[in-house]
């Protein structure tokens, strides 16, 4: 068994080497880790960065007009006198949490539906696919808005709405991966060896079909954050004190000509994350692609 462990370790080492060979993926990984670290600090010990009220924005009505960056406010302030630096630090935690929530709920639901649909096949498969078609035919932003306005305007409902919009994507992807894995000869070989259907599913098909789905999920984290903040930007949040990147951007919108930093900094925070996640996903794809490993 020692030998087995050594083999595994060799394999891991190769994976790491393949990943590190892709420099941009490494940059992506570092940026994502910074965001995650920020979120964790905000969650467990915000005092470390001198922040007290993690869940609300701190307005300063004595001086509501945006101020340019200075030593006191490294990123400047936005309307109504909110310090951008601390707000962005707070907002990253909230955005990251809800993006992961959306992806997790959507991906788990979608993956389960996709696998079941591919395995059972027939009428169920056909029905599920037509339902996903319906979801695809409506622009996701509008659909999310509609669902959100029915349920109510809060962060939780907003992420629920996005998850509802997002699952068909994963259902489709998981289904196609499962179906193509089913065609491999080793699945037939297992059948010839008398392996039962459930065992084939869990031992052969899923372990080979799911890794690409996970990569897709990690790639989507970035776009989900963008969409999440878009919804906040166009006024999905009723509570005006929530530190959220899209909402922060919308606060500075009226001053965009005189105080561009009020829009640029929160905007950049969103873009950089989306970009970093994409780069990271690229690197991960290299790792699981056997052709790139050689």
């Amino acid at each position: 068994m020692n030998e087995e462990r050594a083999k595994r370790w060799d394999n891991t080492k190769l994976s790491i080497r393949v990943f590190l060979a892709n420099r941009t993926a490494l940059v992506g990984l570092i940026i994502v880790l910074i965001y995650v670290a920020d979120a964790l600090i905000m969650q467990f010990d915000p005092g470390l960065l001198g922040i007290t009220q993690v869940n609300t924005l701190v307005p300063n009505f004595t001086n509501p007009v945006p101020l340019p960056p200075s030593w006191a406010h490294p990123f400047g302030t936005t309307f109504p006198g909110v310090d951008l630096y601390t707000s962005i630090l707070k907002a990253i935690r909230i955005d990251l949490f809800y993006s992961i929530l959306v992806v997790a709920v959507g991906a788990v639901a979608g993956a389960v539906i996709g696998v079941v649909s591919a395995t059972v096949g027939g009428l169920l498969d056909e029905t599920v696919m037509r339902i996903t078609d319906i979801f695809f035919s409506i622009p996701y932003l509008i659909l999310a808005l509609a669902i959100g306005f029915i349920l109510g305007r809060s962060l939780m409902y907003m992420s629920l709405a996005l998850a509802l919009v997002w699952w068909p994507l994963y259902a489709r992807y998981t289904r196609s991966q499962t179906l193509s894995t089913k065609e491999f000869t080793y699945v037939e070989a297992a059948k010839a060896s008398g392996v039962s259907r459930t065992r084939i599913m869990f031992r052969h098909i899923l372990p080979n079909a799911l890794p690409p789905v996970f990569i897709q999920i990690s790639l989507d984290l970035g776009s989900i954050m963008v969409i999440f903040s878009t919804l906040a930007f166009i006024g999905f949040i009723a509570n005006a004190k929530v530190p959220e990147l899209g909402y922060l951007t919308s606060l500075g919108l009226n001053y965009v000509q005189t105080a561009p930093w009020a829009v640029i900094f929160p905007g950049v925070a969103i873009t950089v994350f989306a970009l970093a996640v994409n780069l990271l996903g690229d690197g991960l794809r290299d790792v699981i692609d056997p052709r790139r490993r050689s």
């Binding site: 070989a189 297992a190 392996v195």
Partner: protein, 430 residues
Amino acid sequence: MIIAARRLTKEFEIKANSAFGKPLRLRAVDSVDIQVGEGQIVGVVGESGSGKSTLGRTLLGLLSPSAGTVLFDIPDDVLREYDGFRRDGDAKGAASIEMEYSIFKKKGEKLKKIRSGMNMVFQDPYSSLDPRMNVMSIITEPLLAMNYMKPDKAVDRCMELLEEVGLPRDFAYRYPHELSGGQKQRVALARGMATLPKFLVLDEPTSALDVSVQAQILSLLRKIREKYHIGMVIITHNIAVISYMADQVNVMYAGKIVESGPKEDVILNPVHPYTIALISAVPGKMVKPNRIILKGDTPNLINPPQGCVFHPRCPMAFGICGWTADEIATDLKYLVNDKFAGSFNDKAVVSTGAGGSLVINNASAGDEGVLERIINEEKGNMKSLTAIEGLERHGTNIELKIKGYRVPKMYNHDGRKVSCLLYAGDDNKA
């Protein structure tokens, strides 16, 4: 017999071309009879699309047949009895034997028992091993799946098997991508014989391998057969491999077995025109002066040729092999408009009508005689012309009469069974 298949047929349904059309049926295996005795190696040879792989999978029950049965581990006298019932049309008697021996009538534990008695080795060792499992789990999988033995014993068995197929023990913890093609195929073979099956199907076991490795695997297979008396069906396109391995040879073409018999007869002295052509096509340093080069390609199985499926390519075909008006018309058009363009009226046109009639329009007065002469001249090259029975003139048209056709059955000839009308003469009710 370890395995005996009777009238085995497998059809696949294919989506229709139009949205509302009927689904098309592709008959990949067409009423095949085949049997394998204990420790016997039976070769199935054919080109791509001949249905040989489908036959192998149906024999194992991986595909369910559209018609016919596969009987497993059936004593010879019972099989003879069964054949008797079928010949005499005694459906009840046949059904009772099927109940007991057919692999498609078994369920639950009994099916598991049968399953552990048979297995398959696939062509492509690169895709037939799960990339995420190590050699140990791959080899022990059939043992555990069929409750053949306990997990701790399975580990010992795996080591035994590795030794048997000539791999060192430490390979048990390797992953497929770390093995060479030959080593992978050895692992696949170890998995195939893990439960000591009585019957093994090998689908192109060496065609993805280099010749030097192929030789190793083939001699390994022979050794295993000697030692364990496993009945094997080897499916391949490589006649030399069949010739080296098999005792009995079946030649498949377009889903049918066209010639079947002992290796010495079928390969060294073939009688079916397809087998003759196939064997003469094998490349080699001896350039054969009388090599037969077949025209065209294997037929489309959705809409196979009528009569004998091989007749459009057959160098020995004759009148009753199943020629249609369209086939004859294609050849006639070439003769009338291209090859002998000067000898006919310029406006002469070959056309086919409803109900399979064949007419030459706008023929001038002397054309009948010319046509008759040309048909007699060209009969040797264009076998379709042999199906023309006679000419009849109606005004400016010449109508050509076409002979009726017969579908070949399996005929006994010279120690083997052959499906060709050339040998229908000595038809002993095969």
